[in-house]
Amino acid sequence: MANTVLENATAAPVAPEEPHVLRSGETLPWIVVLVALVALPLVFTGGSQISTLNYLGVMAIFALSYNLLLGQTGLLSLGHATFFGLGGFAATHAVLGFAEAGVNFPLPLIPLIGGVVAFVLGIFGGWLASGRGGMPFAMITLGLSELVYSASNLFPSLYGSEEGVSMDRMDLGSSFGMDYGANSHIYVIVADCLVISAVVLKYFTTTPLGLLTNAVRDNAERVEFLGFSARRVRMWAFAVAAGFAGVAGSLAALNVEIMTVNELGAATSTLVLLMTYIGGTRTFFGPVLGAVVIGLMRIWLSDITPAWMMYFGLLFIFVVMAVPGGLAEMLQGGRRLITSGLLRAQLRPLAGVALAGAVGFAGTVILVELGYRAGLDASLGPAIRILGLPLDTTRPLSWGLGLVLVAGGGWALRQQLDALATRRHALAQPHREAVQ
């Protein structure tokens, strides 16, 4: 609440021409993404590190495509992985087919094939799912994806059996001066595809059809009275989103040289939903941020702790409850705060919030880790080091420490948030009067 007051109060006079497309905050993320794409492979040079970067890039494209549905058109698809997977299988079979026919098809164009196949299938799927938005749409996408997933049993030649379909990305030979043996060669393709996808998807939002997707999200009924079919708008959004999911799936296939039915299953659909939501659906690059954060959590956190899924869930709940705009909006809020010149006046309560939050978080970590050790990992013994502390699952004191930190942190957080709100209110007051 206090936040919005602040926002309105400090907003610059309304820009006369283009209010939506080029907000000042819109160029910075592009620069960050481009710099990161160039810099990251220079910093992380190991083969498996590059493969991780490839994975993150793939997920970034996948999440961007998903947000065309979720954020732009207001459609909750529960089966977006279908097109990720189908695109991946199309790409895999294309590589196999070209290799067998001895055609020297340039590997970087393979994602185009996966994308087009997914786009065409997306038109069908979109037509089926798009009669209405909301719950019916979500249920139909879920049904369609289950259908496609279970069809894997019927078409083993298409989906491969249990172990999936594998290929050798070097079979198509060299092109553009690369033989595609090294992961860094795939990185070049992934990075280019990410930039192209982002540009095309961004462009899409500026077109009449892009505007209509927002209109359908806001008020699908009214769109009809303006002469448009909400169904057609949803269908095209669905098809375009499917197409880019297919590009992402193709890249995933090129990265690991194997496609399995898991790629088009419910877990993958859930993953992209969480990435997009946690990153932020109302900011163009929010999903990219979500894909990177969640992708890294999956990789790094799973090395550090067996309970990584738990933190994943906690993060999701935190975002849903505390920052519905996602991590991107959190960053934007921080940036606004810094540029507004009001940061200093709020530094104390902000530090208090951070400290209280950290204490509560530490307590949560202790409880989660103790719980895991006591339960699933009991065979490893009761003694465990958490956050550098020697704790023991059999000692009540260990549990007590966690509980005290959670309760104390939570209580303090409340106090500090109140203090922050009061502070912001006080700061906003004179501005508000000036505006009125």
């Binding site: 209010p19 059809l209 002469g227």
Partner: protein
């Protein structure tokens, strides 16, 4: 010349209750026609039937001679009908400018286009500019529609209806909730944009009605009990008894 709208024995029931009970109504091309009647008479329901939001139980509706009953709202819009809503029905999370852009896209032929960014479409820009000025919303163009004041939202609601350029307009209480000066401005706007068009308007303010309407129809309990010029309606004893009564004296 065919009438803009012809309604024949139109009926609508919600469950066992018949709300529209055999309405016959003709809108002459180019006339400004007011629809009045007490609360709950079925005025909005009649609008929903004409515009395709609700299916009629029976009866015929013709727009410029073509039957439109049973068609979708979009098809009816293509046939040349546009409407506003009694309960504000805009795109809340989009800016005022974006709201208007959506409304002018169809008539300018940029239907589901992805060929160019919308801000490069000169005709769309010019048309939206004109509308913004006309609606008095030019300073609010970059605001989200849900942050507008109520009268501003009503102006935008009206704007969405008139932006489509349809030949026939249905306006459901366009001035409800507006202040005196806002009403005057809205009335001015309505008169301007409906120049040469056919207008059917629900309105409770008798002053407004007698100023704008060429003819008036009175709907009571789902039936049209009288249609005529303002003078005829004012003099009609059945109308006075059923509805106008004291309102006439106030207006006079």
């Amino acid at each position: 010349m065919t009438n803009a709208i012809e309604i024949e024995d139109l009926r609508k029931s919600f469950g066992p209750v018949e709300i529209i009970r055999g309405v016959n109504l003709e809108l002459r091309r180019g006339e400004r026609h007011a629809l009045i009647g007490p609360n709950g008479a079925g005025k909005s329901t009649l609008f929903h039937l004409i515009s395709g939001r609700l299916p009629a139980t029976s009866g015929k509706i013709r727009l410029n001679g073509h039957e439109i009953q049973g068609k979708s709202p979009a098809e009816i819009a293509h046939a040349g009908l546009s409407r506003s809503f009694q309960i504000t029905n805009i795109f809340p999370e989009m800016t005022v400018l974006e709201n208007l852009r959506c409304a002018v896209l169809w008539k300018l032929g940029h239907r589901y286009s992805v060929l160019r960014p919308i801000r490069r479409l000169r005709d769309v820009n010019a048309e939206c500019e004109r509308l913004l000025v006309e609606l008095g919303l030019q300073d609010r163009r970059a605001e989200r529609a849900d942050t507008l004041t109520y009268p501003e939202q009503r102006a935008l609601e009206l704007g969405l209806a008139v932006a489509s350029g349809a030949g026939t307009l249905l306006l459901d209480e366009p001035m409800a909730g507006m202040s005196h000066t806002e009403t005057a401005a809205a009335l001015d706007l309505i008169k301007r944009v409906t120049e040469g068009k056919t207008l059917l308007m629900v309105e409770h303010d008798m002053g407004v009605i007698f100023e704008v309407a060429d003819r008036i129809s009175v709907l009571v309990y789902g039936e049209i009990i009288a249609t005529g010029t303002p003078e005829e309606i004012r003099a009609n004893p059945a109308v006075q008894e059923a509805y106008l009564g004291t309102a006439t004296e106030e207006a006079a």
